[in-house]
């Protein structure tokens, strides 16, 4: 069974925001809702490091644990999806989420946030695969078509990887082997090289 995951190789992420607009494009996400974003730490200074972040589809997903309506579910691939019909827009998932992934279309008084929207790993929602209803509510369902999330597929430098945990780990490990050297003014510690993605397997 595949276990889907994202991995952002911050050594390659250049904050081009391609993943962000790829997501908008593929899922027709409205202005103000960002299922994915790129955050840069130490912006403009030595050590500047960017990372693209969205819902990371946690195994023990905090959003799922706190949702009052139990609108979340996890697919066999480990993708965390939600049922917008059940969502009441309480915002608890946002409180709990480590990554700030849940997004709300509105921000009005009396807790009127609208229905939560977040990264679906391009796997749509509970509606029938690739039905117009699914597309309208959740955007694309690329997984059902045998494709991977658009953000990762379109990443300009292939910093953002998505797919089965094992394969993603293999790719990343190969990179680490190639990189080998560690003499750059802006590169980091020995741990870069020691990192072995395969050890992180679920």
């Amino acid at each position: 069974m595949a276990r889907m995951k994202f991995l952002c190789d911050s050594k390659r992420c250049i904050e081009c925001n391609g993943c962000v607009t790829a997501c908008k494009n593929e899922n027709e996400v409205e202005w103000g809702v960002n299922r994915r974003r790129v955050v840069t730490i130490n912006d403009g200074e030595p050590g500047e490091t960017s990372i693209s972040v969205a819902c990371m589809h946690c195994s023990d997903a905090p959003c799922m644990a706190v949702c009052p309506t139990d609108c979340f579910y996890q697919t066999d691939d480990g993708i965390v999806l939600h049922n917008k019909d059940l969502c009441i827009g309480c915002g608890y998932c946002l409180y709990a989420c480590p990554f700030g992934a849940p997004q709300f279309p509105s921000d009005a008084a009396f807790g009127e946030r609208g229905k939560m929207d977040k990264c679906t790993f391009c796997a749509g929602g509970p509606e029938e695969d690739n039905s117009p209803e699914e597309k309208a509510k959740y955007g694309a369902n690329r997984i059902a078509e045998g494709k991977l999330p658009m953000c990762a597929e379109m990443c300009s430098t292939k910093a953002l990887l998505a797919g089965d945990a094992n394969e993603v780990s293999d790719i990343f490990r190969e990179r680490v082997i190639y990189r080998g050297h560690n003499d750059g003014a802006w590169s980091m510690s020995e741990e870069d090289l020691a990192y072995d993605a395969t050890q992180q397997k679920a």
Binding site: E28, E45, Y73, G146, M154, W186
Partner: protein, 954 residues
């Protein structure tokens, strides 16, 4: 019960028709993306709100079109999915050799072009300050009548034809031909303010003014020096290739920039220089290289002329002087030089940070000389990898939308006109008579360079007695151009107000339509984008790619070539313009134009890329190697992708294209080349031809001049020509022989048609033979002005008086103590009208800003996020948000130049036609930039001027 989503992992990748790709193959090769569920299915539905478009149902059949991103010159491939004529999906082209599916923010948002919410929807004109809708017929007639009237009163030179790097090759070529037949050289496009100094500097060093290698070839580099370029924002997909070199080849990356860019963040060494000190920096590197004997002596001896004169100048740049001028310490200079010397081949990458200077031609030549000294030219992994800007700025430059040349860099001499009138199949006399016949400064306008795009405002505002043409400019045609990318905003406003008529042909209204206080005399004519038509486009690496038409033109817009046809008909030269080009349904047939290009572009080898071959490459882009771009098997086996020019001879001769310029390790027939013999055979008794260096399989084992009928006869190769070829080649040379026979025979003997010479480190035809450091016109370092002064003022350059010394002599460094530089953001392109109208992009950059170092911000008393007034040294003011960051050095501020729709604090959103204002407006950085033009090309100065900043109150 928990819902469980059904989603079985497909067992094996399946090949889908249309997307002839293999994600898996791609993954394997590059080890870059991922593939658990690596398989492709034909895409399904798309819900899309497009004006005018019928709604699509999810089961409508899907057409897959192959197109190329229009946002920069990397040339990323795109699969566009179309249902019922609506662009419903965009799939990454994993099998495209340039981008392997990757896209930056702009490329990934490309499909928005199919929405076009904020497009200009129909022809309009400004009447009493209000936009009025016109029919196409009215628009063409009214504008045409005005042009004819001005032509009668002030001559053809009073209409300015400002073309675009957003044209396809065919449209670009047609536009230049169109201007010629109108009778003026007052035609130009963005390349002037983009890489003109590169083209001039580089071409004058070794023959061709273009990127010598390719993005993919960077894979083989062992060191990479980026100077004045920020590809992480301007060409993000190129980082895919740079990272490949960095990771697999252990390439050492040095980033030289006044600003700690996002590219610098990924470099091994970041070198901060003072803006405008590029030559001093390069000479500083060479000082260490020469001092330690790290130069490639054999390469220099065989293939470089004039390095000794460079050596002499470099002696003046010992470490202390370099530190004083550039701000870089000796230890870092030495380290950088050593890295470059020890890691060969290495490549240099430069962009606007090097070119957009008053001294731009000196900068570009200095970069070339660095590579020559290291022997990095003509080799895989080396070269000058000059990243062009707009998607087709290379093509539009090659095809001559330039005021100083006809297509193919033939120039404006009588010979050039003769060549092209022959290609066009029109009477030379007729063309000559279309021009003003008066002689100005010993030159007729037909042979004199026209006013460049950087100076059109002077063409309007300057005293007409001082301009080398009959009258001022009276009608300005901005055909796909963002005026906010040009300097001197307040003067531009005045100039626009002085015009008789402003005509804007563009998919968007642009900043030009709103920046002035005009109440009438402005016409907006809706052109469509490249996704609504088809044709070829030249990427930065000289590869030519064919674009499919994705959708029909939106709203009432029309393709540029159709608009040219409509105007030429109105203006009365359509018969000549389209003599050998068929018109179908009011539209010139694109392939016919391509063929005419093939017929005349011998100089740079745009002759072998017939429409048929281009389409073959397009359909089979998956067959080309990701590293070498060479076709491996398939119908285009052996060709290089897109047949990077020069693709010598005729299409039938089947030249594969030249992936790396001046690479002698391959035979010319296989894409090898020598340095071009462009500057004669000797100078002051010194041989200018190559010595003991020649391309593989060359029958001549030494340097040789360019090929001509005479040389062929002298070599005894004349009889290799067919009878037919002989007839056409008589009295011609490799550039003017329309049969292609001379080129064919030269190549058959393993020779480069353009000769085999040395590159020249000394350009004796330029103001500075050896590139010199000269202080910017507006410099805070007054102490250096006397030692490194600028040039003297000139009475006439490109028809206009041009100032240097008189500006530099005024010391404004007290009133304006801060250096202002400008550059790009990844989310936007150029003047930004198109990208700021794309909500997916606009959302990411909602405010114009200025980057200021915390020290300056604290001294000036404002904080991050506060509004400030920035005033340029010539008084242009912009109100922008302060972004306080150490990205810029103390005393230097940076502004992005993509914003428009605000002017000196005033929001102009209301002045756009209803529904056509971009989502985001902001002050144009160039409202605050100042005077300053390169003496060779009239490149504008956008990278170093002076300004002052204060906190905005209320």
């Amino acid at each position: 019960m928990r819902l469980t989503k059904k989603s079985d992992t497909p067992a094996a990748p399946s090949q889908a028709s249309g997307l002839g790709l293999s994600r898996r193959r791609f993954l394997k090769n590059s080890g870059v993306a991922a593939g658990g569920v690596a398989a492709v299915g034909i895409m399904s539905p798309g819900m899309m709100k497009q004006a005018e478009a019928a709604s699509t149902s999810s089961n409508a059949p899907t057409d897959i079109k192959r197109t190329i991103c229009s946002h920069c010159s990397v040339g990323c491939g795109v699969y566009a999915e179309v249902q019922n004529g609506v662009w419903t999906g965009q799939e990454p082209a994993f099998d495209h050799p340039f981008n392997a599916g990757g896209h930056c923010a702009k490329g990934a948002a490309l499909r928005e072009h199919g929405h076009g919410d904020r497009r200009l929807k129909y022809p309009m004109k400004l009447v009493d300050g209000k936009w009025k809708k016109l029919s196409w017929e009215q628009a063409i007639n009214e504008v045409g009548d005005k042009m004819l009237q001005v032509r009668k009163e002030s001559g053809p030179d009073s209409v300015y034809w400002l073309g675009s790097a957003k044209f396809s090759n065919e449209q670009a070529y047609l536009f230049r031909k169109y201007a010629a037949m109108w009778g003026t050289n007052n035609v130009d496009h963005q390349a002037r303010i983009c890489h003109s100094t590169t083209v001039a500097g580089v071409a004058n060093t070794w023959g061709y003014g273009a990127m010598t290698n390719s993005f993919n070839d960077i894979h083989f580099a062992k060191s990479i020096i980026l100077i004045g370029s920020n590809p992480a924002e301007a060409h993000p997909v190129s980082l895919q290739h740079i990272f490949r070199a960095k990771e697999r080849n252990k390439a050492h990356i040095i980033c030289v920039d006044p600003r700690f860019t996002r590219t610098a963040a990924h470099a091994d060494e970041y070198v901060r220089i003072r803006p405008g000190s590029d030559v001093a920096f390069i000479w500083g590197l060479l000082w260490h290289i020469f001092e330690n004997g790290w130069e490639d002596k054999q390469f220099i001896q065989q293939r470089v002329y004039g390095m000794d004169e460079v050596r002499k100048e470099v002696k003046n740049w010992p470490p202390a002087e370099v530190e004083s001028v550039t701000g870089v310490k000796e230890s870092q200079m030495r380290r950088a030089a050593k890295e470059l010397a020890e890691n060969r081949p290495g490549t240099v990458i430069w962009c606007m940070g090097g070119t957009q200077h008053t001294t731009g031609n000196n900068n570009t030549r200095a970069y070339c000389i660095l590579m020559l000294a290291l022997g990095n030219m003509g080799t895989s992994g080396g070269g000058t990898n000059i990243f062009r800007g707009h998607d087709n700025v290379q093509g539009a430059t090659d095809l001559g939308i330039l005021s100083h040349t006809l297509p193919g860099y033939y120039g404006l001499s009588d010979g050039a006109w003769k060549h092209w009138s022959k290609v066009w199949d029109v009477d030379l006399n007729w063309i000559q008579n279309r021009f003003d016949q008066t002689v100005y400064r010993k030159l007729k306008p037909i042979n004199n360079k026209g006013i460049p795009v950087s100076r059109w405002i002077d063409g309007i505002l300057e005293d007409k007695k001082l301009i080398d043409q009959q009258d001022n400019l009276r009608v300005m045609v901005c055909w796909g151009h963002a005026v906010n990318s040009q300097t001197r905003g307040p003067e531009m406003k005045k100039a626009i107000e002085k015009l008789d008529t402003l005509v804007i042909v563009d998919p968007y209204p642009t900043h030009a339509a709103v920046m002035s206080d005009r109440k009438d005399g402005v016409y907006l004519i809706p052109a469509c984008t490249q996704f609504e038509t088809y044709g070829s486009v030249t990427a930065s690496n000289r590869s030519i790619q064919w674009r499919d038409q994705v959708i029909e033109p939106l709203f009432e817009s029309k393709p540029d070539h159709e608009i040219m046809y409509l105007f030429s008909k109105k203006l009365g030269f359509d018969k000549q313009l389209f003599k050998n080009i068929e018109i179908k349904n009011n539209q010139p047939v694109v392939e016919d134009i391509t063929r005419e290009i093939n017929k005349g572009m011998w100089t740079i080898g745009y002759t072998g890329q017939s429409p048929e071959r281009l389409k073959l490459h397009q359909k089979n882009w998956h067959t080309f190697d990701y590293d070498t771009l060479k076709g491996e098997g398939g119908p285009a086996s052996g060709d290089y992708y897109g047949m990077p020019w020069p693709c010598w001879g005729t299409a039938e001769q089947g030249h594969p294209g030249t992936p790396i310029l001046y690479d002698t390790s391959k035979s010319v027939a296989e894409g090898g080349l020598t340095f071009r013999a462009r500057f004669g055979v000797e100078r002051d008794g010194v041989n200018l031809l190559a010595e003991g260096s020649f391309s593989k399989d060359s029958d001549i084992k030494d340097g040789y001049p360019e090929f001509s009928e005479k040389l062929l006869k002298k070599l005894g190769w004349w009889n290799d020509l067919t009878a037919e070829e002989k007839q056409m080649a008589e009295g011609k040379n490799w550039k003017t022989d329309l049969s292609g026979g001379i080129q064919r025979v030269a190549i058959a003997h393993g020779c480069a048609p353009f000769g085999n010479a040395k590159a020249r480190a000394v350009v004796w035809t330029f103001p500075d033979k050896v590139p010199l450091h000269r202080e910017p016109l507006y410099t805070p370092r007054r102490d250096l002005v006397s030692k490194y002064p600028t040039w003297n003022d000139s009475e006439s350059m490109y028809r206009l008086p041009t100032m240097y010394k008189s500006i530099q002599d005024k010391d404004l460094s007290k009133e304006y103590p801060i250096i202002l530089t400008s550059g790009r953001l990844v989310e936007y392109e150029g003047g930004g009208e198109e990208t700021r109208s794309n909500p997916w992009l606009a959302e990411l950059q909602q405010e114009m800003f200025v980057e200021v170092n915390p020290i300056d911000a604290n001294n000036l008393g404002f904080k991050d996020g506060e509004e400030v007034w920035l005033e340029g040294a010539e008084g242009g003011k912009v109100r922008v948000k302060a972004l306080v960051t150490r990205r810029v050095d103390e005393g230097v501020v940076f502004m992005p130049f993509h914003f428009g729709g605000m002017f000196q604090g005033k929001d102009l959103t209301d002045k756009y036609p209803t529904g056509a204002a971009p989502y985001v407006v902001g002050e144009a950085a160039n409202t605050a930039t100042t005077y300053g033009y390169d003496p060779v090309t009239q490149m504008q100065e956008t990278k170093v001027t002076l300004c002052r900043i204060q906190k905005a109150t209320a």
